[in-house]
Symmetry: D2
Subunit: 338 residues, 4 copies
């Protein structure tokens, strides 16, 4: 439930304002040069601090507690922890009886009976993705023949086709959202080259199933589509079908997103996720006081991301790499000793 | 891999032109009056024959081979089989070296080394969904407090807000596609009332993850979105957030689709899937002859659905019910003896 | 729960006196020449009819319903069914309120609330092992470098070191048990050569864990031991430890049974199981009438095995082969296309 | 693989001479008063220091890193770590090319290609059981209606029917083994009262399967038997069968060990495990130098247990409690919020 994968298994743990967050990684092949530099670089991409992201500053220094010996993975479980240092729980105490709209607060209370750690979202916090990023860096290191790349292609209604963001109109939209204490939604696209034809499991463990499963577990994702995605609804078969142009399976178009029948067809894997605007906003919102049962209004102070999607690409890449490595091991295309 | 679920586990089996297709259902609570009538009614909704669906006619009579005694479920695995009677494999022999564009043919060859049963799509056929529908009918019977309802809301570019289809402009579009030997994409929406607050598992087994996992395993699905879905990308938090209006968790809007933090929030569960146009069309398409390695063209004869989405709603409902029942059992909200 | 394995997954189904019993086998590598002859030979070894086994005669003809095409496995799930023909349920009706001592009857009623099919043991019947034997024959065919061999080494208190049984004193003991309407316990030993060093998963999925798990799921097994087994309790380390004699890991003794730290060490895998005497005997036994709550006595008519262990070796081999093949696939030592 | 359980899931991690060992516990019901005192008491029972156990002294202070808030479990994963302080790796460097007889060394090298941490047994060390004991204490706290009790019933060939050990002849045998630098095997029995009738899953997940699975994952276990166990091989059915004496399922004898058909029958659960003598002994032993390929002799210095079984009871209780809690959750007999 807090674990993803069958062969390469990643479990997340921790709370936003507890002692730590982290990941336990089981089934990692032995003999991999532990990718400390890549892990740090990826964590750097995830970090907050840029415009539109929260002011909370965490050092995010990974503490490797097990599974690495003489600089190499051993085959035993790898535990990576991140201490929480800059947690400020003061603003949460007063919110504990007033569930925040479109946050996990209410659903969590119903599931865990008021015992959950509510501070900073607790176990539901986006901070949990630090462990996913670290695990993803390990997965990427093993998937040396694949390249996994995600970026924001639309945010706040503005198309962002390449970097830098500054040249798009997005900065203006972002500034206005920040000023109003509001937040913005976005679309992130992920592309993977080098996925071998034949990857994916039959029926219920299609590549689409596996990738959407992990993508929808990331905070804030409300849609996932592959290849032409929802636009296929307005296409005819003669328009949608990807003509095969050579014996390697290469197609002239890629409306299938690199997947047919749930299995990789050798073309680039392409998918997009919809990232909703952050639920935490400073604007007044209606909710209910669960002590009194009466309506009330709240404004969520604290430090928030105005556009969480800005930090999603590296997390989505990591989640995708974890799933693809797992599939490679299941398929026997990756050895258990490097 | 051909199995979905942890407590209520459904495995699919069979091939389009083999002896049978079916489902093995393990973990079904004991003591349920076996819902023969509902199963038949649901299979009737899935059946072909209407305009836009294949001319292949199968009786689809479920043969219950185990797990039912004196008309009630026993708690032991339930095997339901459907014989294949009206299979016509003649048109497939000539296609076996020319993978059909956007079909599973090429990917399957790469995975299974030419050993897969290629006739009628073999194990990748939409016919496998008959077993899912039967299992879904059992799940629905157990989920007596929920109502699961899906329907086509858009097809061939035409919005279909209610039935009957005849009153929309869709029929004209469908007729023209049939005439041209082409196919049409669509969007199907599913709504579930009665999902208890607190349902869903933490992190990697969110309700969205579980539902998208099974939805993307159905043939032809290329996108899944919850609540506001992809349109959330253009919304601000102040617009997206669903104000909570009473202590039961009811919200004034439902952009979250009934789910927060991956867990049910007591509101209606709402999601949509994009169904691509059927890959099998009569029009000439480019592909490669794998014997010669040269380009060639094919026209796919046989009997096909012009709009597979017309048969998707009952299958999507079934898949959703299977997942929700599994979650109810995991949560301990459903007993193992009725 | 009715399924064993992670990559090579075998699910059992059916009831003793229902329509059929069988197995669904998922994850079987594609391209294997389907081993019909071996399956029949193994089923022949399992068959009743010899002295000490039940008089129930079933043809045990395997019906292969899916997953095989042109005589080869396709990679899709293989369903194998066995029809029940010679079921005689007449003697069970009168037993349904008087649970048979040391049978599953009482426990089953408590679990399934009187809904279970009680005829002939229903889903708890030894007849379910037919499917395991068929699946085991497939596993053996794939494990071409291993030899899995089990035989009865002790029965009714008589050591049986080799065949034929007729030359041991066992026949006399068996005759006397049959005459008295009683039954006999036994010990079965299984040896596997060719297990590669390194096979087995860390900690909770040790080879011993995996093998004992499946062995204890077979009806009537009350003990499992590896290598020196329980006699290790009276040994000193200097006596128990197996000296390593060459770089291939060969040891001078094999008290470890071929496994150290849960992982194969290249020596012969050796384990033994204790098979209790059949619970069904003609002698009068005390039990309780659940309708009246009062004590009563029963004598179990019908056709029974006087020594179920005589039919265990082929089943134990099959169960062991299933687990070993699964481990080979997990380890990546076996390809998914033959 | 390093994880046991489906609903209550315990993962072990760490190495004997690395930074730490520990356990990640997922699926723990929310609202449990965190049983710090019981955890410490159980760890105390596991601790070394008594005669016959290693001189290595670890404080074994549990560090609770997540999943507990305001003194109660939250429903999120609980990470418990134990720092390694008293590790002395000096004696292991010289052993790294000479695999110790009946240790995991050789098998591990074959599996992990010399990348495993070999110091002190690394991830294969008995020290890993500290995490199991902590998880077991949590499980016991939740299983308030059950009592799980294990003790050594035979060691070094001496029957030990009750405590104290001093009054049996065992002390003399132990002294002589210590003096000779040798080690002793033993048998540990575990009894559980309060197991509800109906607990256990059908076929492959019988209670025996689940318990033996976890028992055989503990270091040094070479046999597991239930009820009459291996002695059933010499019993007749009329002797083995447990007469049922009342409607609660109580039986006059308990040769079945509380389990029929894999499912609890309401009587006491009884099983025994064979614990081999510790592999690490000071006596000279034959092995092979993997650098030269030649035979050599080693004497294993360092600090070892002369009778590891003395520390097994609390570990076996913990392992058993973990499995039983998991079964209770699967059965829906335990709520997910206390």
């Amino acid at each position: 439930m807090n674990t993803i994968g069958r062969m390469f298994r990643v479990s997340v743990l921790g709370e936003s304002h507890g002692k730590c967050v982290g990941a336990l990684i089981d089934g990692c092949p032995a003999g991999l040069e532990f990718p400390s530099a890549l892990i740090e670089a990826e964590l750097g991409r995830r970090k907050s601090g840029a415009k539109g992201t929260t002011a909370r500053r965490e050092s995010d220094e990974p503490m490797v507690m097990s599974g690495v010996f003489n600089g190499k993975t051993t085959g035993a479980p790898i535990l990576i922890l991140f201490e929480n240092a800059d947690a400020d729980s003061s603003s949460y105490e007063k919110l504990k009886n007033t569930p925040r709209p479109s946050h996990a607060d209410f659903a969590s209370m119903k599931k865990y009976g008021r015992f959950a750690d509510y501070r900073g979202g607790g176990h539901f916090s986006g901070r949990l993705t630090a462990g996913i990023v670290a695990a993803g860096a390990i997965a990427k290191s093993l998937l040396s023949k694949m390249e996994v790349r995600a970026h924001v292609i639309e945010a706040g209604g503005v198309k962002i086709n390449g970097e830098p963001m500054e040249d798009s109109g997005f900065v203006d939209v972002l500034d206005s959202a920040i000023e109003e204490g509001d937040s913005l939604g976005a679309i992130v696209e992920c592309r993977v080259s080098g996925v071998p034809a034949g990857l994916g499991e039959p029926f219920f463990d299609s590549l689409e199933s596996a990738i959407s499963h992990v993508a929808f577990s990331l905070p804030g994702i409300k849609g996932v589509e592959f290849g032409a995605g929802f636009s296929c609804a307005r296409m005819r078969g003669s328009e949608f079908n990807d003509a095969i142009v050579d014996a390697s399976g290469k197609t002239s178009t890629n409306n299938s997103g690199g997947i047919n029948g749930g299995i990789g067809n050798s073309n680039e894997l392409v998918f997009r996720v919809a990232v909703r605007p952050a639920a935490s906003i400073n604007k007044l919102q209606e909710t209910v006081d669960l002590e009194t049962g009466k309506k009330t209004e709240i404004s969520i102070g604290g430090r928030h991301d105005a556009c969480i999607a800005l930090r999603v690409p590296v997390v989505l890449e990591a989640a995708c790499a974890i799933v693809l490595l797992d599939m490679m091991l299941l398929e026997g295309k990756m050895k258990r000793v490097v």
